[in-house]
């Protein structure tokens, strides 16, 4: 049974999360402040942290920084919309994902499952990916859509590979640019926009209603693969 640490100062939100997560067979512990949260992660074996960014005693961002100094525990950030800069900062500092408040419970549980799964996965890359008619063979650098070969440029392929390797997890523009183009291109978001558009036109059935590559407004992209 995975143990989840909930860090939120609002009792209603803690109650909601505790009830739902317990019902889905997670072990739940709670903290009401950043200081307590850091201590909890140090004291207990914790599998995942659900961290509210707006804590009374200290900035959620600095809590991430302090936990990341010595722990790799997955962190999912809870944040209100319109705080995109904070979300990006949190993700760039090592948070694994974020969920907008107010959130749908199904969405939150999906993020929790994805983060836990990624943590348990070994570091070896999968050799292939199959979902909804999209097949990627990483060893042969081969991409197929509904049985037909698709020709991707090297950068398009790299982009798709990075997205699939972090499937279900949001990647910030900066993270994607760094992985695919390199550190000196992290501000050139228009490269990314154009390549995402091209990639969507090649792999999506309807590029304006994408199925695989989802835009996270103001933050980045998320590759969604139906769990199979």
């Amino acid at each position: 049974m995975s143990r989840i640490l909930i860090v939120d100062d609002e009792p209603q939100i803690r109650r909601l999360l505790r009830t739902s997560l317990t019902a889905h067979h997670y072990d739940v512990i709670e903290s009401v402040s950043g200081k307590e949260a850091v201590a909890s992660v140090a004291d207990h074996p914790v599998d995942l942290v659900l961290l509210d960014l707006g804590l009374p005693d200290e900035d959620g961002i600095s809590v991430i920084k302090r936990i990341r100094e010595w722990s790799n525990v997955p962190i999912i950030v809870l944040s209100v919309r319109s705080d995109e800069r904070d979300k990006i900062k949190a993700l760039d500092l090592g948070a694994n994902d974020y969920v907008n408040k107010p959130f749908a419970m199904g969405e939150l549980l999906a993020r929790v499952r994805a983060a836990l799964r990624q943590q348990s996965q070994t570091e070896t890359e999968p050799s292939s990916f199959h979902a909804d008619g999209l097949c990627v063979d990483f060893s042969k650098r081969l991409v197929q859509k509904d049985g037909h070969d698709i020709k991707l440029s090297p950068k398009e392929y790299d982009l798709l590979r990075v997205l699939i390797l972090h499937a279900q997890k949001v990647l910030t523009h900066r993270q994607l640019l760094q992985e695919v183009w390199g550190a000196e291109y992290t501000n050139d978001t228009h490269y990314l926009r154009i390549y995402i558009g091209q990639l969507r036109r090649k792999i999506e059935a309807n590029p304006s209603q994408p199925h695989f590559i989802i835009t996270e407004s103001g933050v980045g992209y998320r590759f969604v693969a139906p769990s199979n």
Binding site: K155, Y185, I194, G197, S208, S217
Partner: protein
């Protein structure tokens, strides 16, 4: 020869007196007398005068010369005085026209002090009381940026006692400055300080008149300002009342639905289908509340000027696709038609804010058009602009009301009042588009049914066009 010569001398003396004043004309008179005795009174070419007649002549001539001189200088003085008076009156007239026509208190103070300083050949400062009654430097001649504590204390005394003091008066007469209270029949508006380069001279009445005019003009300006302030205050109050009443109405309705549904669910008396219905109500109404709060927040940020654009490059297709999938449940009962040419330029803007614009427009389209009807979204490039059009087949907005729907709390009067909304959405759209140097307009669609919203955003080009492939 003697007579014409003396006549000539008198003329000369008159002219000298007019021109150079009494002293010079006296000297000229004596010179003339000596010339007369030298050239005209025998023995000629000698200052000696032998005839008694000639003595008489010289005596009478000198007396006449003195009289003429004095008469002439007095005339001159009177003419000068008249001229000065005329100039003063004319200046006063110009001054009053000038200060009546200036716009704003600060301009009035600036122009007023400049004019007073120039006409009286003096340095000038002007002190006005603040809301607590403390005098502050409001305007001054160039070079005077601060006044000393002693000067300020004297001015404050003058302001409260309403008596002139300082240079040239009986009180504080050793001071450099002259302090005059600026009074109107209603109240004391401030203090005028003057330091003359020469002296006040005969300009006392002009100063008096200028000071009174200035005081009246300042009072008039202050009255106008306080009138405007109270008008604005009333407007703000009205706005707050509208906001409060619409918020309480538009928040209560979904809250009532949520509380009602939740208490129903707690009572355990419903079958599975009914429970699901109640849960859907809670969910939908809470979503609606969430949208209201989002709009209110946007509005506050737009109004307070704290809205910071987080600009980035993106494809219009991405923006529209993301908005549609975010609203997928709400849009499910309408047919959505997206028409985008493949070669559209990238948009340079705030993705999240422009998404709010589209969410508001789509939400309106769904609210005001029947289920099953179509909603069109299209994009195109027109010269240096990107045009986005959102069109529905709903009830539309009459032509004359269209410019008004972008104002706060304004909802179409012909619209259905039963449809929830506080009339913030479109004014937020307008604010966001304007922050992007763009605009939003409402228009009639070609078919005539419904309404078309046209967004215009200027196209920018990425700094680096070359993309490493």
């Amino acid at each position: 020869m003697k007579l014409p010569a003396t006549m000539l001398f008198v003329c000369l003396i008159f002219w000298t007196a007019m021109r150079y004043g009494l002293t010079v004309s006296m000297i000229v008179s004596v010179c003339c007398a000596m010339v007369f005795s030298f050239f005209f009174a025998p023995p000629i070419y000698s200052f000696a005068v032998t005839h008694a007649d000639d003595w008489w002549s010289i005596g009478i001539f000198l007396a006449a010369a003195i009289l003429t001189s004095r008469l002439a200088t007095r005339m001159k003085a009177q003419a000068a005085k008249a001229e000065k008076h005329r100039a003063g009156t004319e200046f006063l007239f110009r001054f009053s026209t000038l200060i009546v026509n200036v716009v704003g208190l600060s301009e009035l103070l600036k122009v007023g002090t400049e004019q007073i300083a120039e006409s009286l050949m003096a340095e000038v400062f002007l002190l006005l009381p603040d809301s607590a009654g403390k005098l502050n430097l409001a305007a001054s001649s160039p070079g005077i940026t601060v006044i000393t504590e002693a000067e300020s204390a004297s001015a404050t005394w003058v302001y409260h006692q309403n008596i002139p003091a300082g240079h040239g008066t009986e009180i504080l007469s050793e001071a450099e400055w002259l302090y005059l209270p600026l009074t109107t029949p209603r109240k004391n508006v401030g203090v005028l300080g003057l330091r003359f380069h020469g002296g006040l001279g005969t300009q006392g009445r002009l100063l008096e008149a200028l000071k009174d005019q200035m005081a009246l003009a300042i009072e008039r300006m202050q009255l106008a300002k306080s009138l405007e302030e109270s008008r604005l205050m009333k407007q703000t109050e009205r706005l707050e009342t509208t906001l409060l009443s619409s918020i309480s109405h538009d928040f209560r309705t979904p809250l009532a639905a949520i509380i009602g549904s939740a208490t129903g669910l707690l009572s355990d008396k419903y079958d599975a289908a009914a429970r699901r219905e109640l849960l859907m109500t809670i969910y939908e109404e809470a979503q609606r509340l969430n949208r209201f709060v989002g709009n209110l927040l946007d509005m506050t940020r737009l109004e307070s000027g704290t809205l910071e654009l987080n600009r980035d490059w993106f494809e219009l297709e991405d923006l529209i696709g993301t908005t549609i999938s975010r609203l997928s449940e709400r849009l499910s009962k309408h047919r959505f038609m997206v028409n985008l040419p493949p070669d559209l330029p990238l948009v340079y803007g705030d993705f999240v804010l422009l998404e709010h614009v589209l969410i508001n427009l789509f939400d309106n389209a769904v609210k005001y058009s029947p289920e099953g009807s179509a909603i069109w979204v299209s994009g195109r490039r027109q010269n240096h602009d990107l045009i986005i059009e959102v069109r529905d087949e709903g009830i539309g907005v009459p032509q004359e009301e269209r410019p008004l729907i972008f104002e706060k709390f304004r909802r179409s009067r012909s619209g259905n009042r039963q449809i929830a909304g506080i009339g913030l959405g479109l004014s937020i759209c307008k604010g966001i588009l304007e922050a992007h140097e763009g605009k939003i307009e409402a228009d009639s669609p070609d078919g005539g049914v419904g309404i078309l919203f046209r967004l215009t955003i200027p196209v920018k080009l990425p700094v680096k066009e070359m993309i490493p492939a």
